[in-house]
């Protein structure tokens, strides 16, 4: 049967083109790979090859024709034994393009927010039963214990990173792990973040549960392609076949006097990416319970610690198997006058400000988000519906911050409950300076939180 040769699409964006030149004429025999014509696309002049063999029966579009739509028949190819007389019966219109018409119902994002309940339903269950025995522990010990417990539970869990084994951790987070678990499971890497992050992701596909430690999150920028393009997106790109059960962890944000390249909060960066889960604990109990959840999670988890918090002590429940679920915020302090939302080291400013406010008779409700993806919106919204005012606190840069996102969500879901604009306390929009006085100014502070609360409460 005679086949029509159609105007080809020769680039991802081509809709029409110029048939610049025919290199064959009617009656010519062609075989697969022969150049039939030169076609000008929106980008370049391309040679158009024959796919099938046969005889050019008829040329339908003359050379020099401009604006020839893709899929227009431009010639007819005859098979052995056919003649040009058969052309009239040559079949069928061009294949309709299947994907060009966007379907009407393709707006699930909007549908989703419409479906979102107006009345928030926060999970107010306690993190551990009342009366549980408690033990004082630093954040450092909590993270170390969480890893050790999970490594005892699951042979496929291992930890790799710079100085994690023989040196016992640059910040002593992995202290003692080499002795207990040996060099097979506690692995010193060369200084090669891009490479070992990729090896970690590959290992997670091969049946292991890696914990990849970055000495600090600043160095993970060398590896961010592997974290996002390989770890976060593969489950989706594989249609659900292959997930990446991996934890990337290490200290994040400013420490003290280490300058611009070593002082940055990546919370908003990673919270931006679908496919990742993002955790930024404040207390030791949360660090332990959330890291254990992270190691068991079948998805890639970004675990953002803080060097200044490592040595801070908190009460941690003494329980055999203590985990905290993702997406559940913690109310540290109840109050009716203003909601302060924070996470990670920002909580130190939030709680200190709340203490001072209480002395003045202002009761702040302080919420620790704990996880930034997923975010517990319901707890925040329910609180703001009660207090009608909100201040957010974080150390990251101000543009496209977590606070910005919380604010936008409150506008969508609790606009009528707000009695004042939400204020975001953030780090300043500058690289971190070294000088002690400037560094202090570049970070947010308890005073800034107090000032913001005064503004939103019109005091």
């Amino acid at each position: 049967m005679a086949t029509e040769i159609l105007m080809p699409a020769l680039s991802p964006t081509m809709e029409e083109g110029t048939l610049a030149k025919w290199l064959v004429k009617e009656g010519d025999e062609v075989s697969s790979g022969d150049i039939l014509a030169e076609i000008e696309t929106d980008k370049a002049t391309m040679e158009f090859e024959a796919v099938d063999e046969g005889t050019i029966g008829k040329i339908l579009v003359e050379e020099g024709s401009e604006g020839v739509k893709v899929n227009t028949p431009i010639a007819v190819l005859l098979e052995e034994g056919e003649s040009a007389d058969d052309i009239e019966s040559a079949s069928s219109p061009a294949e309709p393009e299947p994907s060009s018409e966007a379907k009407e119902e393709s707006a699930p994002a909007k549908a989703k927010s419409d479906d979102a309940p107006d009345i928030p339903k926060p999970d107010t269950s306690p993190d551990w039963p009342d009366g549980t025995e408690m033990k004082t522990m630093t954040v450092r010990e909590a993270i170390n214990t969480a890893m050790a417990e999970e490594m005892r539970n699951d042979e496929t869990v291992f930890v790799m990173g710079e100085e994690v084994a023989e040196y016992q951790g640059a910040y002593k987070i992995t202290q003692g792990l080499l002795d207990e678990f040996g060099g097979k499971r506690v692995i010193d890497t060369p200084i090669t973040e891009h490479g070992f992050a990729g090896i970690g992701v590959g290992a997670s596909w091969g049946g292991l549960r890696p914990i990849v430690e970055f000495m600090t999150w600043n160095f993970a920028m060398q590896a961010i392609d592997q974290i996002i393009n390989s770890a976060a997106k593969t489950l989706y790109m594989s249609g659900g076949q292959m997930g990446s059960p991996i934890v990337f962890r290490g200290p994040n944000g400013a420490a003290a006097r280490v300058g611009a390249q070593h002082s940055q909060d990546y919370a908003a960066w990673y919270a931006h990416v679908p496919g990742l889960k993002v955790v930024q604990p404040y207390s030791a109990a949360d660090a332990k319970g959330l890291l254990k959840s992270a190691i068991r999670d079948p998805n890639p988890v970004i675990f953002l610690e803080n060097e200044i918090l490592y040595g801070k002590s908190f009460e941690v429940p003494v329980l055999d198997d203590f985990t905290i679920p993702f997406g559940k915020a913690k109310i540290w302090r109840e109050g009716s006058d203003v909601t302060i939302v924070s996470f990670g080291i920002g909580m130190t400013y939030a709680l200190e400000a709340a203490e001072k406010l209480a002395e003045d008779g202002v009761e702040a409700e302080v919420i620790d988000l704990r996880t930034l993806r997923p975010i517990d919106y319901d707890t925040v919204i329910a609180s703001v519906m009660k207090t009608n005012r909100c201040v957010t606190v974080e150390e990251g840069f101000p543009v496209a911050s977590i606070g910005n996102h919380i604010t936008a969500t409150l506008m969508e879901r609790a606009f009528d409950y707000l009695d004042a604009p939400v204020i975001n306390c953030t780090g300043k929009d500058v690289p971190m300076p070294y000088a002690a006085n400037l560094e202090k100014l570049a970070l947010t502070s308890t005073d800034e939180v107090l000032e913001a609360v005064n503004k939103v409460t019109y005091r």
Partner: protein
């Protein structure tokens, strides 16, 4: 280009030789059909064809054992067909349909089959190299005695993470074969213009990784080199590099006018070095097959490819609900 070892007698059976012919022909016909469907607008975006390089994957698959893994970059259709993935599922992924390996959500560059130990299909040049070493790391950790074939091109061989990976793979004796498919052009930049030394396989020397150059237009030479490399890895001796000198007949992608090389250069390669013609000659001259036998294979392949094309057109587009699935393994995405 290494010269063909034409005088060498193939030490494979007639059936094996025929299966290589069949597998290479399947890739070529499949890719020609993909090019055709692209021209019809049924395949969108980027589409990188493997035509010309068929002997590389077919030769190495002949050296692989059950459970060995493979991972590659974006010119990946050939690897998928060679490891036994269903042409229908591959073609339907190219057309972005529900019946595709990734339910239409991955596309030409992003397909996976855990069943066939094919770990993608990766669009970031060089990024699959540490990923492949990571798969090998897992096999060593789990004591599986498996080998991972990590394919990348002469272009990717200039990415820094490749050398980070060479270092760790050698340091930790990972069972990984680094397969450099040198088709001489990194998109439009010839190897001469992009690469400081001509022999990429020697780049493992600094890390203590043995390497060799292989005639990639000779499937038997590829198989032989592959067997050697695999044995090295399986013996626990660490990684191995194969620089397989090959050639792609088509442009870098469908929208590449390929003005950086002459038509004559391409024609010469097709006429003098074609890997499929080579095996065809071996089959006929060795009286392992008749013209009729080969015609029957051609016909069978045509049928397989046409079925795949029909399937890829008939399979529906993914349901709109699929937009919101497979983002997390256990939970629905948050309704931000």
């Amino acid at each position: 280009m290494a010269t063909r070892k034409s005088t060498k007698k193939p030490n494979v059976s007639a059936d094996e030789l025929k299966s290589y012919y069949r597998d290479m022909l399947l890739i070529r016909r499949f890719e020609e059909k993909a090019g055709q469907l692209y021209g019809m607008g049924l395949i969108g975006g980027f589409c990188h064809l493997y035509i010309g390089q068929e002997a590389v994957v077919v030769g190495l698959e002949a050296a692989a054992e059950e459970g060995d893994k493979r991972i590659t970059t974006y010119r990946d259709h050939g690897h998928m067909l060679a490891c036994g993935m269903d042409p229908k599922g591959v073609m339907a992924e190219l057309t972005g349909r529900e019946g595709g390996y990734s339910k239409g959500k991955g596309g030409s560059m992003h397909m996976f089959s855990t069943e066939k130990d094919f770990y993608g299909g990766h669009g970031i040049v060089g990024a699959n190299v540490p990923l492949g070493a990571g798969l090998a790391f897992a096999d060593k950790y789990l004591e599986n005695n498996r080998v991972t074939f990590t394919y990348f091109g002469d272009g990717a061989a200039n990415q820094g993470q490749v050398y980070e990976t060479f270092n760790m793979a050698a340091l930790w004796d990972l069972p990984v074969v680094f397969v450099i498919e040198n088709n001489q052009y990194a998109m439009g930049t010839s190897q001469k213009r992009s690469t400081s030394t001509p022999d990429i396989y020697t780049r493992g020397e600094a890390f203590g990784i043995p390497g060799e150059a292989v005639d990639g237009m000779d499937v038997l030479a590829v198989k032989e080199a592959g067997e050697k490399a695999v044995a090295h890895c399986r013996d626990g001796k660490g990684p191995y590099i194969l620089e397989i000198k090959t050639y792609r007949y088509r442009g870098h992608s469908m929208s590449d006018p390929a003005k950086y090389r002459t038509r004559e250069e391409v024609q010469k390669m097709r006429e003098e070095k074609d890997a499929i013609e080579h095996v065809r000659d071996l089959l006929l001259s060795g009286k392992h097959a008749t013209e009729e036998d080969l015609k029957a294979i051609d016909k069978e392949i045509k049928g397989v490819v046409n079925d795949a094309a029909e399937f890829s057109k008939d399979s529906p587009e993914p349901a709109v609900e699929e937009l919101w699935t497979d983002i997390y393994t256990d939970v629905a995405p948050q309704n931000a």
